[in-house]
Amino acid sequence: MDKLRLVYEQTGRARWISHLDAMRTLQRGLNRADVPIKYSEGFNPHALISILMPLSVGTESLYQMADIRVREEVDLAGLPERLTLAMPEGFRFRDVYENGAKPTEMKWLRVRGVWEYDERNPEEMTELCRELFSRPVQVMRKTKRGEGLFTVTEHIRDLRFVPGEKAVTVEALLSCNEPMVNPDLLTAAVAQNAPEASPDGGHFCRLATFKADDTAFR
């Protein structure tokens, strides 16, 4: 036993924890639960933990994954429950297992978002959104290589808008690997291309991940 994959939820107030802080928080939780994490060798040893797909601040996830290296055999029975107890509010561990699939095999991410409209009619907003995304939509996005136009619709599948009370629910499968489509790009696309439908608030939640052949990634 060397490598373990942790699957957990990060919701509620915990969605405001940044990627680096989530790493620290995970490390402390693992220490509290007496999981013997392996440390890197060298001058400044650090715990060997990597989060598969960092969560942007403000987004929730029902399916976060982190790989850790351990120094010795770990009893996996009851470990998710123990980890949940050792973590702050908003973290719930769903599973811990060996032999997780290679991160590069991850391709699709299912997300659900809520767009809030305080004054506007959600039915009308739903229509506007449907119409916008019925054709190719470009969005200005910033990457490490600079700013550029990105055709977001080429990397989205199964996009659905459902009107609700003072809100519209958005569901989609987004490419999460080459290229990585951040769900916030959908919100940006509306703001840039149909500002009249730009929501007053809201956020996204990750639901599940899939391989290129649509089988579950785990």
Binding site: R13, A14, W16, G29, R32
Partner: protein, 611 residues
């Protein structure tokens, strides 16, 4: 979570500071809560969450049945602006409820530059700032912390102030407030009773009078309030609260580690040091207790680092034994032990080797002054020989970076003393050449100077601060004479030191100045982003206040001082004696070598300190 807050959060930096929900956070069912307390820290989350006093009081108050204590920190500028724009009042992290709904709003005040932040926090909460404008019993707005040893500058804002250590007094105040609420007392009735609790200062019950020359002429206690308010301390420090289950933040804070409190007070009598005087007498915790607390805190928190807290950790008698015990636990778990505040005189190879086994941290010494003459004046019992011997040991042990801290503008300082700093730095470089085991890695000596701020309740409380121009002249003199390439020189700007000098020895008239500075935007003034000297000078001009009267004036020993009615345990007689010793250039022995009869031992049963 409040919808307004959810929408604001993504717009500010580090939103995790504003959400609560940390591991170890205490939440209570409101149906069983009779009294709600907001424990406020007038600085940002990262600073406030690092404060040991906050951790202790959070636990102590939450241990009271029927009382729920929550935390409140100052929002950073971006967040404060958004909160105002969106009419979101300042709230407590645990419940998200606005401060105005609490029964007690208590501020932990550790430094003077936080005063205007208190005003802004009250304003953000929609609570009237002045005590006189809050007519109802609740919210009761009060403060505690080291700066309350001169309560006058903030006197008109707080209903009461806690003098000394808060563990017992806070509980007593809250119990009284609980009775007052149950029985429907007026605020006046409550305050008049609270003033009878030891360690409680009710500013509205004291009336200052001023002489034509602007000095204090008298301070009259009203309505049966005691003439002198004497601080309270935890006499049984061994068994006083240390929260091993303290909360662990979700975001990085300044002191992100377990801090083990070895002792309170200090055996040294450095004449500039306020903490060394106001926390007397010395009270130790046993090695056994500390080991137990350290292990429990590490295991609860999951932290990978532990440090030792005290005013002078190398004076802890059981330090070797403690370090060994901690290392035994830490080493196999990859936990680092770091030692702060080492004195150069008894720094041993032994301890250094123990500490560096896991992780190596920097080496810091504070000789404070450049020549032996001046070190004797300030009673810093460290010789150059001590310092160089410690450095030699460190260099032989493989260390290659040393930080040296000094003050400029100490009483009696001459240019010779200033140049002594450069010479001392050169000798450290020379010592490295002679002792370093691995010269290829080079040496880094960092010399830092700050401007001396005279503080109340110290032998230097009558001393003037040098002017900003004079401080900068000495900085230039030193900079021009700091020749070695391995030495980096940093100096602290004199502007905040000047304002700190005004506040630390200010009287009640400073209150209006603070309000004016706040109106002009003074907030989080210990951060460069929040501080502007022009705000201070413009405000002082408007109010006709002379700031140099407070900062740069030599006070005669006979002058009535604004904090003379506050007894922090050390007698004025002792300060006068030490002041005279300083001007004669004479050292005084530390408390272990000979008791100087400062008076602080009277606080302990049997009158024996350092037990």
């Amino acid at each position: 979570m409040d919808k307004k807050l959810e929408r604001i959060l993504p717009r500010g930096q580090k939103p995790a500071r504003y959400t609560g929900g940390e591991y170890g956070e205490i939440r209570k069912d409101l149906s069983g809560v009779e009294l709600r307390m907001a424990l406020c820290f007038p600085d940002v989350y990262e600073i406030g969450m690092s404060n040991t006093g906050m951790r202790i009081l959070y636990r102590v108050i939450n241990d009271m049945p029927g009382v729920w204590c929550e935390r409140v920190f100052a929002p950073w500028f971006d967040m404060a602006e958004e909160m105002r724009k969106n009419a979101l009042p300042l709230y407590a992290l645990e419940s998200g409820d606005p401060l105005s709904e609490f029964d007690a709003v208590g501020f932990s005040l550790g430094y003077e530059m936080a005063y205007t932040t208190v005003l802004e926090m009250l304003s953000l909460a929609g609570i009237p700032m002045h005590s006189r404008d809050r007519e109802t019993l609740t919210p009761l707005v009060f403060a505690g912390g080291s700066v309350c040893c001169n309560p006058e500058p903030m006197a008109e804002y707080f209903d009461l102030m806690v003098v000394g250590e808060g563990e017992d007094v806070d509980r007593e105040v809250l119990e009284l407030l609980r009775s007052a609420k149950r029985e429907g007392w007026t605020k006046k009735e409550f305050l008049s009773r609270a003033a009878k609790i030891g360690g409680i200062y009710v500013p509205s019950l004291y009336k200052p009078e001023y002489a034509p020359d602007g000095t204090l002429a008298g301070m009259t206690a009203l309505d049966g309030a005691p003439e002198t308010v004497t601080k309270r301390i935890m006499t049984d420090f061994e068994n006083s609260c240390f929260p091993v289950d303290a909360m662990v933040p979700n975001t990085e804070i300044v002191h992100d580690r377990v801090g083990l409190e070895l002792f309170r007070g200090c055996i040294r009598g450095c004449r500039f040091c306020q903490a060394g005087h106001i926390y007397r007498p010395v009270r130790n915790r046993s090695v056994e207790k500390l080991l137990q607390q350290g292990k429990e805190a590490l295991s609860f928190s999951g932290y990978q680092e532990i440090t030792l807290l005290s005013l002078s950790s190398s004076d802890y008698r059981g330090l070797n034994e403690l370090c060994d015990g901690l290392m035994e636990y830490c080493e196999p778990r990859g936990i680092g032990l770091s030692l702060p505040s080492l004195r150069a005189d008894n720094f041993s190879m032994d301890i250094m080797q123990r500490v560096q086994k896991v992780r190596k941290s920097g080496l810091t010494f504070a000789p404070e002054a450049g020549t032996q003459r001046l070190r004797d004046v300030i009673n810093k019992n460290v010789t150059e020989e001590d310092l160089l011997r410690s450095c030699a040991t460190a260099f032989r042990g493989g260390w290659n970076s040393v930080k040296l801290y000094f003050m400029l503008g100490l009483p009696t300082e001459t240019d010779e003393d200033v140049l002594g700093i450069a010479e001392l730095a050169d000798r450290v470089v020379h010592c490295w050449r002679e002792n370093a085991v691995n010269k290829a890695r080079g040496l880094r000596v960092t010399v830092s100077t700050s401007c001396f701020v005279p503080k109340p309740h110290t032998p230097f409380q009558w001393e003037p601060q040098v002017s900003r121009e004079e401080y900068l002249r000495r900085v230039t003199l030193l900079r021009e004479n700091m020749k070695a390439k391995a030495v980096t020189y940093n100096w602290h700007d004199p502007e905040t030191s000047f304002t700190e000098a005004v506040l630390s020895r200010g009287d009640r008239r400073i209150g209006a100045l603070l309000e004016e500075i706040w109106r002009r935007g003074g907030y989080l003034e210990s951060w460069s982003e929040g501080f502007a000297l022009s705000r201070w000078t413009d405000s002082a001009d408007k109010l006709g206040l002379d700031l140099t009267f407070y900062a740069n004036r030599t006070r005669p020993l006979t002058e009535l001082l604004p904090w003379d009615h506050i007894n922090m345990g050390v007698k004025k007689r002792h300060f006068i004696r030490e002041y005279e010793q300083a001007h004669r250039g004479c050292l005084s022995p530390d408390c272990r070598a000979a008791c100087s009869a400062c008076g602080a031992n009277a606080f302990l049963p049997g009158g024996k300190c350092d037990g």
